[in-house]
Amino acid sequence: MTNLPDLTVGIGLRQPHYREVFERPPALGFLEVHSENFFLDGGAAMHALERARAAYPISLHGVGLSLGSADALAPAHLAKLKRLVDLVEPALVSEHLSWGSLGARHFNDLLPMPHTREVLALLSERVDRVQSVLNRAILIENVSAYVAYRHTDMTETALLAELARRTGCKVLLDINNLYVNAVNFGFDPVACLAELPPDAIGEMHLAGHTAADGCLIDTHGTRVCAEVWALFEEACRRFGPKPTLIEWDTDLPTLDVLLDEAATASSIAHRTVEVAHA
């Protein structure tokens, strides 16, 4: 296991970019992959991950564990994640503050949770269990949401801060998700940053979204917008630089576009460090 330096930028590694990344490895601090794409016994994908791992620290980002399911945590899914974590020895392991399955049905999505004491208690128990099975701390990410619960009585960031305090997990702060929700539900995202202790932040995510019918949708299919870059800069000023990732999943562009976004993230992070030390 490697510890990532705070001032480091990575990209989500997706299959169409494998060859280019392996043949001329770009200057990146780490690569992040979706854990579920590597729950395989062997083959080309596992070989690619092995090559990526030889060249870069790896972050395993889960999208299917459904930590917030009210009924149960899927033991088979957790066992597959454990096998992968033991194999890869990643720098980071993360999941989401969300649910995606109930009973036998899986929606393969990051569905929002109400932010209540009940949910905090459930997630604390789940995160404890996952960390004990994986034998390491994990990161939990805030999600984009399109509906909100009337009985929510705290912000998602306040819930994450308390979850981190109780379980020792870190927060994966997705700046785009925070911005998307601030627009969708009309709150001040900067006030949310103030609820997070700098030490609790283990990674930040940056991605693009699209607008439809007065709602921002987290599509990971465009460049990071100006407002999200500004919020990222504010986060860097408050928390200091943190390992930061460019995520892009739909309408995947050329690798150079991702590297260009990563360079922008890096220059913003450097700028905030220089200002802080000036």
Binding site: L40, G43, A44, A45, A70, S101, F107, D109, E118, V147
Partner: protein
């Protein structure tokens, strides 16, 4: 305050049936119209995730029927067989049976067999890497013991039989295929799907080769498997087949234990 389980049950119900949205209105913010509009985003997400996973497992069928039709096919499949796992590599196992029954694909009678072949290819893709071995050990087996040999097959190896030329159809739809596109529809094919290194290969097999491999994969010893192969095709050439399968490491070992 509503219980989490109750809210998730109602939420899940509303994602599967739009007419159940009203059950969520008591504790989701906004008016009925807004809630329905927003839940529709999640419905579309779930449908897109499952359709994408299905397309990843069945890229040839997607090409054959076209993206738009495939999307409709995927939606219909999800209504019958929804995703049950956070690991979408497992999604689509029942697709061959589904397209066999689906009214709008009856004009493509080869589709179910093609689906079975694509699922075999999909599973071989992520199967465990075969151990490497020295195939020359096979030549050292005493003649008296040869008939009792059982082979170890690379994980994911499968034979799919069809009265349609499914291996040929699969081949001409591969990215980068630049050969002749003609298909002889009068020929049925048994297709081998197997991992050779990290690549999944599909090959049309002669009747004898298909019978031998299928028998051996099912656990038959060399002797009985070869007898079946000769019955299927009197010109079956065991030596040539074994040479090929050992060289490509699709046969990745053997044992001579009679008890197995």
């Amino acid at each position: 305050m509503p219980e989490l389980l109750d809210t998730q049950q109602a939420f899940a119900g509303a994602l599967q049936h739009a007419d159940e949205t009203a059950r969520t209105e008591r504790w989701l913010s906004g008016d009925a119209r807004l809630i329905e509009q927003r839940l529709a985003i999640y419905r579309a997400n779930a449908a897109a995730a499952a359709a994408k996973a299905l397309g990843a497992a069945y890229p040839v069928i997607q090409q054959v029927v076209g993206d738009e039709f495939f999307d409709g096919l995927a939606r219909a499949y999800q209504r019958v067989v929804p995703s049950t796992s956070g690991d979408l590599y497992d999604y689509g196992a029942a697709f061959a049976g589904f397209v066999a029954e689906f009214p709008h694909t009856q004009s493509l009678p080869y589709l179910p067999d093609l689906a079975r072949l694509e699922w075999a290819v999909h599973r071989a893709y992520g199967a465990a890497d075969a151990p490497t071995w020295d195939g020359r050990a096979l030549a050292q087996v005493e003649p008296a013991q040869q008939a009792a040999l059982r082979f170890d097959w690379a994980a994911g190896t499968a034979v799919v039989d069809s009265r349609f030329p499914i291996a040929r159809i699969w081949l001409i739809h591969q990215p980068g295929f630049d050969g002749e596109f003609s298909v002889d529809w009068s020929v049925g094919e048994s297709a081998l799907a197997a991992r050779e290194g990290f690549r999944v290969v599909v090959r049309a097999l002669g009747a004898g080769d298909a019978a031998f491999i299928a028998g051996s994969l099912a656990g038959a010893a060399l002797g009985p498997a070869a007898e079946k192969a000769l019955a299927a095709d009197p010109s079956f050439d065991l030596g040539q087949l074994l040479g090929r399968l050992v060289a490509s490491n699709v046969i990745c070992g053997f044992n001579t234990d009679k008890d197995e």
